[in-house]
């Protein structure tokens, strides 16, 4: 799951099994395929939608759907999670299989990677066992031809008895053959596709069950496939069938007898349900191999040792970790340097705009209190949010997406697997953690790529230990104000980014520590099955990334921050201007929070800002400034010198800045993240834990730091 408004907000829910058709004659098309073969790119190309794409396996973790029309016929396209198989060993495989079996689809498009067609055919053959209305779409033809691989699509089509089209999904034109093939397949009931022949005893056992199943469920499910699943005792499917076909389906006497007979027959040949699966898979793979021998011609071995050249550096013992750090620091440096100038520009623009705005209010004879409320309350906070928070966010996000598109993230998971393994967790947690840098809510949703429930919970609960995009600008501002100084130039920006890298490393270190603590106490267990595919590096789609990350993400997040900032600004202004016995409400609140905040090296206003920032972390800094400013002075938003003066005037020291950074790094996740945690875990307890863990760490660290300072300085 990538970082888009759909994946971070309330949209991040699984769509159900049955698609709602807008018109009765709408056709439902499922898009299946191995992970990372470009299904989402095909999906976007056909529907014109902006489903986030990225170069790592497991990016799409729930069914996404979109519509398109072709020749006057409208289609619903459903992008199902990438799987290697339909035998349902993991959550994604189960979603994919359930949708293909019970989703009432008119056709299934299986997207394949042309560079490793052989392995992809395994899924094609399994799909053909379920449905005969299949289109095979061989994608990434450009990459394959670069590697000297040629695919004879016509011959493959003849062998499989279904249409085969070749595409380069990034080029929309190449998809026209696919839409045409889909139309043809949905219009006519296709003849049965290629069927894998299993060893003799298995075929005999199938023959025993098939007539009964044909009669009982023939309309809904392929009887041959169903017979195989009954024989290999696929428990998750049996459960699903009880809910869909009625609880007595499997209790039928005739079926039970036939099944017992078939199993007895198999055991005569020493085939148990356990090794039956081995035999089925082996037959499928051997069949794929045989088909590919005729269909694929290679000029040279597909993958050469030299293709691993880049990874020999990026994952090497010596350079693996330094390269990771360097890349992170470089990304942050670009963000800090690039954000500086637009930030200043925006702040002077907003300050300049304030005068005409006041004049406008004057023109309309707005009462003074309303003018103050609107201009000093709402306008000022909003302009702070935009000037200080927008530039770093707008820069970091596309840069991060670029890294994702190239295919570096799986290497991150590969490099960091060992430490996670030591914490009894899954290396894929590194992927979720990396997504967390963009948005913690998306990171939490991304945890679905982890198969084991225990390991997924570990990843979900620790996701907010890395700072998200909304917290970066706060950290950057504090670092520049208190630790590096305002001198512009290469040196200070390098120091800033190194400083920020260190802060992030603290977050990552804490992720490991808390993961380890959890897995030795609450979530005990051993690491589970783990394989990670490392896709080839791909040239990033720079244009698409820029458009997507700005339109989809930055504007969305900014919109949310502004939507939260407006009432927050109102509230702060009201609190500063309404007073009880001569003391403003704001001071009262701050005073009330002060004793506790002081223990953590903060003050009441800061803590109040964090509380108000619960819906969106972006507004924490602006709210602090607003609160300080409500006592009079007026400064230009975004000017670091003025910010420093203001903070110093309110009793800030370097110690306050350190505490503030610590607490910014470790406190309760924003409301969206918590909502996502609840959706993913369906448990109030774990949601509460997800909020309490980072808060406890933050409060603890701040108090520890303040205490140490108190003792020694």
């Amino acid at each position: 799951m990538g970082l888009t408004n759909r994946s971070t907000g309330t949209y991040a829910v699984d769509s159900g099994l049955i698609m709602k058709r807008q018109y009765p004659d709408e056709k439902v098309i499922a898009l299946a395929g191995n992970p990372n073969v470009g299904k989402s790119t095909v999906f976007n190309g056909l529907t014109g939608m902006k489903q986030h794409t990225g170069n790592w396996p497991g990016k799409t973790v729930s069914n996404a759907k979109g519509r398109y029309t072709y020749n006057g016929q409208s289609y619903i396209l459903v992008d199902i999670p990438g799987t290697y198989s339909l035998m349902a060993h993991s959550a994604e495989e189960e979603i994919a299989r359930n949708f293909l079996c019970f989703g009432d689809t008119d056709a299934v498009v299986v997207v394949c990677d042309a560079s490793c067609l052989e392995r992809n055919l395994n899924l094609v053959l399994q799909t053909l066992e379920i449905s005969s209305n299949v289109v095979v779409c061989i994608n990434l033809m450009d990459e394959a031809s670069k590697k000297g691989i040629q695919i004879h699509a016509e011959l493959l089509s003849k062998k499989l008895c279904v249409p085969v089209v070749t595409t380069v999904a990034r080029e929309k034109k190449s998809l026209s053959a696919l839409t045409e093939a889909i139309q043809k397949v949905t219009e006519q009931k296709a003849a049965s596709g290629y069927q894998v022949i299993y060893p003799e005893p298995v075929e005999e056992a199938i023959a025993l069950l098939r007539p009964i199943l044909l009669e009982k469920a023939g309309k809904r499910l392929n009887s041959r496939w169903l017979a195989l699943r009954l024989l290999d005792a696929d428990t998750s499917l049996l459960r699903e069938m009880r809910t869909l076909l009625g609880p007595d389906f499997l209790e039928d006497k005739v079926l039970k007898e036939a099944l017992a007979e078939a199993l007895a027959l198999l055991s005569k040949y020493q085939i148990t349900p356990k090794n039956l699966q081995d035999q089925i898979t082996t037959s499928l793979i051997l069949a794929s191999e045989a088909i590919c021998q005729d269909v694929v011609t290679m000029e040279r071995p597909v993958y050469q040792f030299t293709d691993w050249k880049l990874d020999r550096i990026l994952t090497s013992r010596l350079f693996g970790y330094p390269a990771m750090l360097l890349l992170l620091a470089f990304l942050l440096w670009l963000t800090i340097t690039g954000a500086n100038y637009p930030s200043q520009l925006l702040s002077s623009l907003f300050l300049w705009l304030q005068k005409p705005l006041s004049a406008l209010c004057y023109l309309f004879h707005t009462p003074v209190w309303l003018h103050d409320l609107l201009v000093y309350g709402v306008y000022r906070v909003v302009s702070w949010v935009i000037a200080v928070m927008l530039p770093p966010m707008a820069l970091f996000f596309p840069l991060f997406t670029l890294l994702e598109d190239i295919g570096y993230l799986p290497r991150l998971a590969y490099n960091l697997d060992r430490p996670f393994q030591c914490c009894h967790a899954c290396g894929k947690q590194a992927l979720c953690m990396a997504m967390g840098f963009g948005c913690n809510a998306a990171g939490v949703t991304g945890c679905r790529i982890i198969d084991s429930k225990r390991e997924r919970l570990l990843a979900i609960l620790t996701n907010s230990f890395v700072p998200c995009n909304g917290r970066f600008p706060t950290l950057i501002a504090l670092i520049s104000i208190f630790f590096v100084g305002f001198r512009s130039g290469l040196w200070s920006s390098v120091v800033s980014s190194l400083f920020l890298t260190a802060v992030i490393l603290l977050g990552i270190g804490m992720t490991f520590l808390v993961t380890w603590l959890l897995s030795t106490t609450l979530l005990k267990g051993m690491p589970s099955a783990y394989t990670l595919e490392l896709p080839p590096y791909r040239k990033p789609q720079v244009g698409a990334i820029l458009v997507r990350s700005v339109l989809d993400r930055t504007l969305f997040v900014l919109g949310r921050a502004v939507a939260v900032a407006i009432p927050a600004g109102l509230l702060i202004w009201l609190m500063a201007n309404l007073s009880v016995h001569g003391t403003s409400l704001l001071s009262l609140c701050a005073l009330w929070l002060d004793p506790f905040a002081k223990l953590m090296g903060l003050d009441g206003v800061i803590l109040l800002a964090f509380l108000l920032g619960f819906p969106a972390n972006e507004i924490v800094m602006p709210v602090i400034f607003m609160a300080y400013l409500s006592e009079g002075s007026l400064i230009e938003p975004g000017s670091l010198e003025a910010m420093k003066d203001l903070l110093l005037a309110h009793g800030w020291t370097i110690k306050t800045a350190v505490s503030m950074m610590l607490f910014s790094l470790f406190h309760w996740p924003c409301s969206t993240t918590l909502l996502t945690v609840y959706k993913e875990t369906k448990s109030c307890r774990y949601t509460l834990l997800a909020a309490l863990l980072p808060t406890a760490v933050g409060v603890g660290l701040c108090m520890l730091f303040t205490g140490i300072c108190h003792l020694f300085f």
Partner: protein, 78 residues
Amino acid sequence: MESVYPLNHLLPGQSASVYQLTLTGPMRRRLLDLGLIEHTKVMCLGLSPLGDPAAYLIRGAVIAIRAKDSQNILVKSN
């Protein structure tokens, strides 16, 4: 020379073919799905910075497998 040894003994750059999978459960199924059946050729591409997991070339795709799993995949040098 024909000898059987676990996959994690394979050094980067070396290849061998699968002789037998001695693991069970979900991991066995996953590996089979990836095409790791008997006689499948496997090449070790490299180790991760801390030596585990290692990356293997299996049927045209690069797959990272942890040592605790790959020690249960027996291979034969060809």
